[in-house]
Symmetry: C2
Subunit: 139 residues, 2 copies
Amino acid sequence: MTVNEIATSLATTADTVRYYTRLGLVTPGKSDNGYKFYSNSDQSRLRFILSARQLGFSVKDIKQILQEADHGKSACALVRKLIKTRLDETEKQFQEMLQLRKRMKRALKQWDVMEDKAPTSHMVCHLIENVNSSGIGEA
Amino acid sequence: MTVNEIATSLATTADTVRYYTRLGLVTPGKSDNGYKFYSNSDQSRLRFILSARQLGFSVKDIKQILQEADHGKSACALVRKLIKTRLDETEKQFQEMLQLRKRMKRALKQWDVMEDKAPTSHMVCHLIENVNSSGIGEA
DNA sequence: TCTTGACCTGTGAGTAAGACACAGGTTTAC
DNA sequence: GTAAACCTGTGTCTTACTCACAGGTCAAGA
């Protein structure tokens, strides 16, 4: 299959497949016309990669995992370890986004009753500079 | 103030200040020793930038906002417009993270009762490849 | 067989928001 | 004056793709 065919078959983009190929996660052969040729085993491999990405593994993680497997070793232990790390990170980012969202919504609400103002030498935009971002350190 | 002093005074890093400086968001002068010199007005400007970042504005957004203000125009309308866009994006990313977190937790739970396995020619890691990622398309 | 046009490919570069490396300059203590 | 400690600016690296683009390929028509 060509890059476009395999991408379509896996519901992803040709660019993504090319990216993984460039990194050496898959190593397709070449057709006579010079185009890369993806086999069924390349397809399983890509399917694996996409699944792992869906679970929050980084591309680097996946590279490691594939290396283990390519050496015939079970990657399960590694996989279990990595996902814990990634889950911790995700949880942290999640909390941060939650806070960010809260700040944004609060600002938007506050601004509803604030009028527009011209900037001064020590104030770029009073909306932003006077936003009451409580919830961080309110006594 | 030197870059390190101003960074400390604003509870950020010298690298961050240098980054904004490189982009031209602040334009410090030079001291005799060749080091950049940050004035009080640079400090207010940086404080503004950091506040805006806290509210989810991108650095590019902030550049636009500062430009308006530097031309003496009120940036409020722009600010109001931009935050709506950013909030929408944040909301979307937030939902995606929620889904990701759900998938990860679900996988971790499923894997508790699954044993490690060696890879086969058509299976890199059965934990990942057999994960039941329901909630996406379950009939 | 040749040609035109549509489509596709691989490769190089660009993106966000800093973090990091490092050679060299500066300051302080002696 | 010198040495050690510290600091600076600049260039490079990071993630996970996405975009641009010159050129090659394929099918249809003449």
